[in-house]
């Protein structure tokens, strides 16, 4: 596996995406794309790639694409966790063009893609980050992904954070934690972060608890979703924070406390949950979970 350029069937994905694209673009634009794809595949330098990548938005406009259940499944069979549903058409077309770049020479391939990142405007940047899961040499994009998390541009952050399987699969713990912290700091919908619960870790939990204390000191609201990442690491030192939210005047916060306790092995947390049997039952019957907490 390790020495494979792609860890999935790139030709199958390319063919599938081309059928989606054909649904949305004019015949004229589709033949333009096909022509460019052939040039991108055969060129040694990046001239046609740079041209077609940038020009795509002028050809396709900004319309969003929608896949049916069947199409979504076809995508996830080829590349588990990956989704193009709801993508703007330019993102779909650009991703397809990127799949045509010849990956034979690793340095050449990485320089070509890297050049697109370096010269991108913000929509292009978002398209590139959203396409991280399909790139060849997947391990080579870790620093690039971490760099993207440092951006302050909303759509760029969302391209990395939302429905993107790349970060959870490839980022080291420090970069992953930055992604999650930044999502909380910028009020992103954390339910759309793939791998959020699986990659919970003690360091992140501790930082999030510090963050909650900071928000409380400033008399600001704390995002209830952060406690799901603390749940597995409740101990004597941080339990007072859980008691505090369990005693909140706000029902949603008390629900979050109950959910947190339900995922903990720490006995006092279990006892705390037993004091709210209604919420405990809702959790057991899955009427209450982290996905519907805020609704």
């Amino acid at each position: 596996m390790k020495n494979q350029i792609y860890l999935y069937d790139v030709r199958a994905l390319s063919e599938l995406l081309s059928t989606f694209i054909r649904q949305y673009v004019t015949v004229e634009n589709y033949s333009w794309l096909e022509e460019k794809a052939a040039l991108v595949a055969s060129e040694n330098n990046a001239a046609q790639l740079n041209l077609s990548f940038a020009a795509i938005s002028r050809k396709t406009g900004r319309a969003d694409t929608r896949l049916n259940a069947d199409q979504k499944k076809q995508v996830s069979v080829i590349l588990p966790g990956f989704s193009v549903d709801g993508w703007p058409l330019h993102r779909l077309c650009r991703t397809w063009i990127l799949l045509q770049v010849n990956p034979g020479d690793q340095d050449n391939y990485c320089n070509k893609i890297g050049g697109l990142f370096k010269n991108a405007e913000m929509n292009e940047l978002a398209d590139l980050y959203a396409a991280l899961p399909v790139f060849a040499y997947p391990g080579m994009w870790v620093n690039r992904c971490a760099e993207g998390i440092r951006s302050n541009i909303g759509i760029v952050l969302e391209a990395i954070m939302y429905d993107n399987p790349y970060p959870a699969e490839f980022l080291d713990e420090a970069s992953w934690n930055q992604l999650v912290l930044k999502a909380f700091f910028t009020d992103k919908d954390v339910n759309r972060i793939i791998g959020l619960d699986n990659r919970a870790n003690p360091k992140l939990a501790s930082t999030l608890i510090d963050y909650a204390h900071e928000r409380w000191a400033a008399k600001r609201q704390v995002n209830n979703q952060l406690w799901r990442l603390v749940a597995k690491f409740i101990d004597a030192t941080n339990f007072p924070a859980i008691q505090k939210i369990a005693a909140s005047e706000d029902l949603t916060t008390r629900k979050a406390a109950a959910l947190t306790c339900s995922q903990s092995e720490y006995a006092p947390a279990r006892n705390l949950l037993d004091k709210v049997p209604d919420l405990r039952n809702d959790i057991i019957e899955n009427k209450l979970n982290w996905l519907n907490l805020n609704s």
């Binding site: 440092r150 302050n152 930044k182 700091f185 510090d210 900071e214 000191a217």
Partner: protein, 328 residues
């Protein structure tokens, strides 16, 4: 350097609004030791001068768009000691700066190496009052590497250090920044730890560092909280700044906070310490700040004639009448 937190609407709506009245602080002088004027307009300069800001420090920071080569760093540093300083002087405000490689861009190793080579060319320039703003953002290994190298640079140049503390994981990041500064043999009295809050202030003061507070809407300190901090911790080694930049920020944060302090019963002497004198004491350790210079660039009443002449003195900017629909 600011952050990019999106606004929480509920928080915005519940905020009570008290009209600004800077009348009570008329005649007071202010020093804003952290403000990114590069990202601000001439209207801000005028408003700051009108509110009593006589001098400021512009720390080198991240412009929002990551730089891709050394020349854009060079041009930016040059603008801090060149064009921006001139622009400020036109509004009667003395402009100083701190020079450094910011933490975010320190993560680009190849570029950072080139910037580190360039920094000694700039930190000894006139009016450079420190190395800054440096420190941690994501708290990566590369950020630590360049923080340490720049601490050594500051130590050799005997310059104060302006330390940016991270938004995320702030408490640990602040402690770590101080530990490393001490490890490198810096006198904590030469180090200004910036962007403090209720959770970090005690430790910073106890360890002998300067504690700067950024009054920045929504994401950092509010000025009502600042009033409480001064009531609790006093004024020794405490200073406030606006850190106004390209985000939703307020270049009048320092005078406004002074007005609020006055309204809430803090003495004029204490207000003067946290909004003016302490910052000067800290950064004047660079040997680059002379209060007499503030007067030199001071705004004059433009209706007055200079030696019978209506020509504006020293290239001062003429005022525009913003209440008129006519732009002439």
């Amino acid at each position: 350097m600011c952050c990019n937190n999106s606004l929480n609407e509920k928080e915005v709506q519940t905020r009570e609004s008290i009209p600004v009245d800077l009348q009570s602080i008329r005649g007071m002088k202010f020093f804003d030791p952290h403000v990114h004027m590069t990202s601000r307009t001439t209207d801000d300069y005028q408003a700051m001068a009108d509110a009593g800001v006589v001098a400021l420090i512009e720390p080198a920071f991240w412009l929002g768009q990551p730089r891709t080569g050394p020349d854009t760093f060079r041009d930016y540093y040059s603008s801090l000691i060149g064009w921006e300083r001139f622009r400020s002087s036109q509004f009667g405000i003395k402009h100083y700066c701190t020079i450094g490689l910011n933490s975010r861009e320190a993560n680009n190793e190849a570029l950072s190496e080139q910037v580190m080579e360039m920094l000694p060319l700039f930190i000894y320039k006139e009016g450079v009052v420190g190395v800054g703003e440096i420190g941690f953002d994501d708290q990566t290994a590369l950020e630590e590497k360049y923080y340490r190298l720049q601490l050594d640079l500051a130590k050799e140049a005997a310059l104060p250090v302006q330390v940016h503390t991270p938004h995320r994981d702030k408490k640990k990041g602040t402690q770590r920044s101080m530990d490393i500064a001490l490890e490198h043999g810096l006198d904590p009295y030469m180090v200004i730890i910036d962007h403090n809050n209720e959770e970090t202030v005690k430790d910073v003061l106890d360890r002998g560092f300067w504690a700067a507070f950024t009054i920045y809407p929504f994401t950092k300190m509010g000025n009502e909280r600042m009033v409480e901090i001064v009531k609790q911790y006093g004024t020794e080694r405490i200073m406030i700044n606006s850190a106004a930049d390209w985000g939703i920020s307020d270049p009048l944060a320092v005078p406004k906070t002074a007005a609020l302090m006055k309204q809430r019963g803090i003495s004029d002497a204490d207000i003067q310490l946290v909004t003016y004198q302490n910052a000067i004491t800290a950064f004047a350790q660079s040997g680059q700040i002379d209060e007499k210079d503030f007067v030199m660039v001071q705004t004059i009443d433009q209706s007055e004639r200079f030696e019978g002449n209506t020509v504006l003195r020293g290239g001062q900017q003429p005022r525009i009448d913003t209440s008129s629909i006519i732009i002439s």
